[in-house]
């Protein structure tokens, strides 16, 4: 496929005197995983929010190509259309799953709810799909009626992923999906994300500060510093032959990526 699924150019965002994004561009093709790395405060989350239409940029455009080939300006489309995208074709995996999950609704309900929002109506089918997705993310199906409040951090994150993927989105935004978890839990979650993303052919914009995670999941990488993209390319190019001083600093600060 020669046309990107999502593309952006000239994005600028300021918060008062802080420049969160400064003429940032990006492109993502179907089925591709793009990592965004950089230090805290460099604008990664802001970029994810602008790409997904949640924060409006002061300048620049974000284009999304729908399955029918039509290209639409994410920040100019009517709000109901953007909401529809977020309910089904797109997914957003938050670093803190509590922000995405309804803690007072059962695990199965959390997954089924998104299917219903995307138009599913048949209760039995919704429950079956929810059970299938819990199994897919290695949550014991016996826990389907339990509330997420009783789940561990790793389970919550897996539940969020099940809830996100149940509608078979084409594009998923992930903000530090393994942040704040124990290393062993992280490893399992990464295996899961890698397997599901590849099998379903989902395109992902993945924000992470962990270069090893980027190496593991992403074919391409963008390095951000102070709201700007200072370097981008294939993951092995950027991590094995870093050219920008800041990328060299990042790479040299980890033991092995």
């Amino acid at each position: 496929m020669s046309e990107p699924l999502l593309s952006a150019c000239g994005l600028a965002v300021r918060f008062g005197s802080i420049t969160a994004l400064d003429s940032v561009g990006a492109a993502l093709w179907p089925g591709e995983v793009l990592a965004v790395v950089g230090e805290s405060g460099s604008g990664k989350t802001t970029l994810l929010k602008v790409l997904s239409g949640r924060v409006r940029p002061e300048a620049g455009h974000v284009w999304y190509r729908a399955p029918d080939g039509e290209r639409t300006d994410v920040h100019a489309m009517p709000l109901p259309m953007l909401r529809r995208l977020h309910r089904s074709d797109w997914g957003f995996v938050e670093q803190d799953p509590r922000q995405a999950l309804r803690m007072d609704v059962s695990a199965g309900g959390n997954v089924g709810e998104r299917l219903m929002a995307a138009g599913a109506r048949h209760y039995g089918h919704i429950r079956d799909e929810a059970a299938r997705w819990l199994a897919e993310v290695e949550i014991d199906v016996a826990r389907i009626d339990d509330k997420p409040a009783t789940f561990s951090g790793g389970m919550l994150q897996r539940l969020q992923i099940a809830r996100t993927l149940v509608t078979q989105p084409r594009l998923v935004f992930m903000d530090e999906p393994t942040g704040g978890l124990d290393v062993s839990v992280q490893a399992r979650l990464l295996d899961l994300i890698r397997t599901l993303v590849r099998r379903l052919g989902i395109a992902v914009v993945l924000v992470t500060h962990d270069l090893a995670v980027a190496r593991l999941l992403a074919a391409r990488i963008m390095v951000m510093q102070r709201g700007q993209v200072v370097e981008d390319g294939l993951t092995d190019q950027v991590l094995d032959d870093p050219r920008h001083p800041y990328t060299q600093l990042l790479v040299s600060s980890v033991l092995a990526a």
Partner: protein, 227 residues
């Protein structure tokens, strides 16, 4: 007809964290490799042999020059190709057996080689055969290579590299950690690949291996450090 044609390739590194020291490693490198031919890179440690292989694979981005690769009926210049074109070339045309195995953690050996063997129904059977040929016993096939010995890892790396049908193969010291019997296997595999029309650029520490597989030697010398 050349499978690979390098013209005036230059590559250096600017070490920003070390006072911006500029390290020139490759300059004016030109090299042609025909289908079915094996060219050995030779030279002292630090001459830039691995750097050249990495540049050919597109991992080290060229400062100047052209890296023309015959790909899908045309020529692609990897020195200027965009990321997605480079991935395409790596998927179908250009294979690389790095000096040390680098794999996705927790994936079993057989799955690693099967994936490289492609989508066909017989991919797993071919992968198994390759592992056995490289003396990796069945009891290791289902294990992830993190606990493999150095030689086992290198043989797995070779199995993965030879499993695909890439018309061009880059080999960095493929026999460095192998015993005589396994070295002989690798020599046989390289000769078969040549007979099948694959072009090979390799670094061979072992003179007997080099003499057994290389049609030509490309000599490299370290550049003097630039200011």
């Amino acid at each position: 007809m050349n499978a690979l044609s390098v013209r005036g390739l230059a590559k250096g590194f600017t070490l920003h964290l070390q006072g911006g020291t500029r390290l020139a490693v490759l300059a004016g490198v030109s090299l042609d490799v025909a289908a079915g031919e094996c060219v050995a890179l030779s030279g002292p440690s630090g001459a830039g042999k691995t750097t050249l292989l990495r540049a050919l694979y597109g991992t080290y981005r060229a400062d100047a020059g052209a890296i023309l690769v015959r790909h899908g009926g045309g020529m692609v210049d990897l020195a200027v190709a965009d990321a997605r074109t480079t991935l395409e070339v790596r998927a179908h045309t250009l294979g690389y057996v790095t000096q040390f195995l680098r794999v996705v953690p927790r994936v079993p050996a057989l799955a690693i080689v099967t994936e490289a063997a492609g989508a066909g129904n017989d991919a797993e059977a071919r992968a198994r055969d390759l592992l056995l040929r490289l003396a990796i016993p069945p009891r290791l096939h289902g294990l992830a290579p993190a606990t493999f010995s150095g030689g086992e890892q290198q043989r797995l790396n070779l199995a993965r590299g030879f499993a695909g049908a890439h018309p061009i193969l880059l080999l960095d010291e493929p026999t460095a950690a192998l015993d005589a019997a396994n070295r002989a296997t690798v020599v046989a595999m390289i000769r078969e690949a040549k007979a099948a029309g694959r072009a090979i650029v390799g670094i061979f520490h072992d003179d007997s291996v080099r003499d057994a597989v290389a049609d030509r030697v490309h000599e490299m010398l370290p550049l003097r450090e630039a200011a």
